[in-house]
């Protein structure tokens, strides 16, 4: 039984991480109808930024500032810088292509993803960068229920992830910016005619989505300790899977999808075998796509003539 709960805890933690990345991805799709393949690589950039912040303040062993302050700086900096990167990418790569054939921005996105991965390889080198989290957040600061352990980092990831998701939900449903986002997502031209500044709204969406990815990257660094140039690719795949399963364009769908993927991976590894984890998850995706193409929580898209 403890095994079940341990796997559940692991699954929910990683699921929260996937959900955060999927959220940004889903938001961008909702507003621009664009699959942003570069989203996973923004996550990778966030993880690197977190690493360099740790180094800047004395490395994992000789911190010059308290841990909580370090964490705050890491998250804010990663979120801000990566958000800015997202806005820049949108501004110069996607905006000129807003009226181009659908394939053009998709291929551009693939190009940006590849470009970012290899630029990171060039600038930061091939060796893995290690956060060494246990050196400044030790394992003993966690809780233990029976023989199920949840350490402090996992708790922080869960709480922060939850807070961000709730915050995003509130942003989208209660604020004016959220209303504008929803309007642009439904019909861009009509929104423009109603006086909404579409460019600003899209830029804001990209900022928030990319910032979420950046924060998720830092969390991944804290949880998994290892950062290298290809982690974005895997994370991006998981984000697509989560968004699609949950219903692309839908925020609660992305959250649900992320959690489902995390828990599924955990249980498949635990109860079946780690060899087939990825294959089974892909298989799940295909099944969901065949049975319910709009995802679990998405709405069937109407095709306008």
């Amino acid at each position: 039984m403890t095994f079940f709960f341990q796997e559940l805890v692991n699954g929910i933690t990683t699921g929260a991480l996937y959900a955060l990345v999927a959220l940004g991805f889903s938001m961008v799709y909702g507003v621009l109808k664009l699959l942003n393949f570069a989203h996973g690589d923004l996550y990778m950039v966030g993880a690197y930024i977190g690493f360099f912040v740790i180094r800047w303040f004395g490395g994992p062993t000789a911190l010059t500032i308290p841990v909580w302050l370090l964490l705050v700086i890491m998250f804010v900096l990663a979120g801000g810088l990566v958000g800015g990167m997202g806005v820049a990418i949108e501004r110069f790569a996607y905006r000129p292509l807003r009226n181009a054939p659908r394939i053009a921005p998709l291929i551009t996105a693939i190009g940006i993803s590849f470009f970012l991965e290899n630029s990171a390889l060039l600038l930061f080198g091939a060796q893995y960068r290690i956060y060494n989290t246990p050196d400044f957040i030790s394992f003993s600061s966690g809780i233990r229920i029976g023989s199920v352990t949840i350490d402090a980092v996992q708790i922080m990831v869960l709480l922060l992830g939850l807070a961000l998701m709730v915050g995003l939900r509130l942003l989208v449903s209660r604020t004016r910016l959220g209303k504008q986002m929803r309007a642009v997502a439904v019909d861009r031209e009509a929104a423009e005619m109603l006086g909404i500044n579409v460019n600003f709204t899209i830029a804001a969406t990209f900022f928030i989505g990319s910032a979420l990815a950046g924060v998720a990257g830092v969390m991944a660094g804290l949880l998994f300790n290892q950062v290298y140039s290809l982690i974005g690719f895997t994370a991006g795949l998981k984000a697509f899977t989560a968004s699609v399963i949950g219903g692309i364009g839908s925020i609660p769908g992305a959250m649900l999808g992320g959690l489902l993927i995390g828990i599924a991976e955990s249980f498949i590894t635990g109860y079946i075998s780690s060899t087939y984890t990825n294959l089974i998850v892909f298989g799940l995706l295909i099944v969901v796509m065949l049975l319910r193409p709009s995802g679990l929580l998405g709405q069937a898209q109407l095709q306008k003539v």
């Binding site: 699954g11 246990p134 249980f267």
Partner: protein, 392 residues
Amino acid sequence: MRRSVIIAVAAVGTLVAAGCASSSSSSSSSSTSSSSSGAATAACVASTGMEGPLTGPVAVLGQEQLHFAELAVAMDNTANGTQISIVQGDTQLNPALATTVTQQLTSNAKIVAVAGPAGSQEVEAVGPLMARAGLAFISGSATNATLTTGKYPTFFRVVSKDSVQGPEDANFIVANLKPKALMIVDDQEAYSTGLVTAMTPIFTAAGIKVDHESVSQKVTDFSSLVAKVTANTSVVVLPWQVAANAQQFGRDLAQQHKNAVIFGTDGLFSPGTFSIGGSYVSSFGPDITGIAADAAIAAAAQSKYGTFGTFGPPVFAAQHVIDEAISSVCKAGQTPSRANVLAAIKQTNEPTSILGQPIQFDSNGDLVNGKFFLFKISSAGKYQLNATQLAG
């Protein structure tokens, strides 16, 4: 825009023609040269190739191999008065890329021998090409047993093979660690799966319950896998290439309060990265900082390139074998060519080497009496040599 298209295509065509012309008249020059820029004198001048994963997921290992090869060439040039230079080839551990790189090296008539490639799959892919060109190639890390069954007449290696390392490690675990149950995880690479195939029968024959798992090198989260480690599982075998992953695995073990000991192989030898106290690392290469005779080499490598693991020294040994072969050919008054360098390599008989053992090749290209080295990591993270001779 039309004009630009035409000019562009024409220019590329010119470049192609220029490239073809330039490479037909003279072979490509080296990109890393340890000799001076003076004209070739009557001294012994030769080019050798070096193939390794210089970029890609295991770029750290490839770069280490390259650095040690360059170090060997620099030291040998000074000692023997030769002018040997290295031509690099990046294979990214990808056999198809290795084939292209090998074509590049074999068509360069100046290259008389090659150090590398690193992976066993790559050796399988390029073996026939090397044989056809009569080019000797010495690998410092390809350990698959099937490579030295006579299929590749110009292949040599300076390390022992999986079919020896695997069973020896397994016997050590059974005899000394005596687990009731163990988990063995491969990283979906040929090196790893080869070792698993060699070790598992020995475990099952000894009555140990074996849980065989598999995760790709790209996975960074092992918490779900670690949760599967039962209370009875006292050993986890990780024949991985990426030390950072093993470190994370060890951390997850500690976080979930599991008591299993990690037993790893060559790729985990990385004093800065993998330092879980109580772990064992079995390596085909020695820790040269522990060998007194290698002090100068270790110091030079440390100052120039920083920390290193066990993948560099075997390539140093390979390059040194090549350098010595070239030097002996020159001393006999001949110009180095592929044929005479190959013959000289076959005759290699070094009483001592950077690996702490003599180097001699058997008729299939295997290292005679290759040794394995077992290290145990102390609680402070230091690597201590445990049992030097595991293999005969």
